[in-house]
Symmetry: C2
DNA sequence: ACCTGAACACCGTTCAAGT
DNA sequence: ACCTGAACACCGTTCAAGT
């Protein structure tokens, strides 16, 4: 038998990734070690390396897993302003579910903030709805993401207060500024400077 | 003699902090270890613990050192909009000088982003100039900081492009939105939502 | 194919001992 | 007062060996 003495079933990557996410959520990224994870899975530490190339690769996997679980609002026909607010709130909810991982991602360049993530697709759809021209889509969504993630990051760090009421207020201020900027043609502002 | 066999002079905390900052700038926070730092200073690793309580305390010290070196624009009588842009650019320059440390700070709650830092004092002065009422000063500066740090963070991660021209554009978009928001009474927007 | 144990090169930190 | 060496409890990862 090739199966572990301590377990009935062989390891698989989903199980590994789910357990790792649990550890990160509970104890932060520095609370995740290959050895603790192996213990959690009742397996020899070295067995993990048969499914994952390194700890860094594992963390990429964990990020992808968490991203896939994020629930995003679909096009419900409401005006783009409201849809933009709904998206910001959904993203904020996701960040609060996995604060340690979220912060980790934002400190590590190549983590799965890639363009194919559904988050970006939803965002671009809403911006098209808002009338942002195709050639400005990229920069506008980047700036907008930077704004919202800045707010979220401040809140996760406890820099901005974290009670739901104040949170809503801050996100609203942010979205309101962005909305106003878009309505007034924010893209043009950059060219001025 | 109480002095190291390998060095003529005793260790002091400024020397430690400066060397640690050098290491972090060169190799990221994970490139700093007590042992490497000791080697850099030609000293036994354990000697460091006579000047610094732990690695975490050392990093706080390093952050404070870097913050003290940041050069901030003083009140030159220009309109608040221009002063705000100048402050954002100065902060961005600082972040680019110490990217690894900057990202580290923004992933660690209690790092010296405290209210007494001169950055915050300059920011509040400019916002007063902009006519932000005293009771809104705190939240407005928090949101504003969140915006600018979001932009900077995106750029450091290579998510937004990093050439000076594009950088200036993005920061300008951000500041422009904020300026417009302030002029239009952004604080009120929060209450609406 | 999948798992394992021993081993290597690193960590941060404690402690008792040196001058 | 300041420095040191040995030791402890952890890391991630390699490698040769087991079924």
């Amino acid at each position: 038998m090739a199966v572990s003495a301590r377990r009935g079933t062989p390891l698989n990557i989903d199980e590994i990734s789910a357990a790792a996410l649990r550890l990160v959520d509970a104890g932060g990224v520095e609370g995740l070690s290959m050895r603790k994870l192996a213990a959690e899975l009742a397996v020899n530490p070295m067995s993990l390396y048969h499914h994952v190339e390194s700890k860094e690769a594992l963390l990429e996997l964990v990020c992808a897993t968490a991203a896939r679980r994020m629930s995003l609002p679909s096009d419900d026909g409401r005006p783009w302003q409201e849809q933009l607010r709904a998206l910001a709130l959904a993203y904020h909810r996701h960040a609060r579910q996995h604060p340690a991982l979220w912060i980790y991602v934002h400190g590590h360049p190549r983590m799965v903030a890639d363009r194919r993530m559904s988050l970006w697709q939803v965002l671009e759809r809403i911006l098209r709805l808002a009338g942002v021209p195709e050639e400005e889509l990229r920069r506008t969504s980047d700036v907008l993401y930077a704004f919202v993630s800045g707010i979220i990051s401040s809140q996760l760090r406890g820099h901005l207060p974290d009670d739901p009421e104040e949170t809503g207020r801050s996100l609203n201020i942010a979205v309101e500024l962005i909305v106003r900027g878009l309505e007034g043609g924010a893209a043009g502002a950059g060219a001025r400077g």
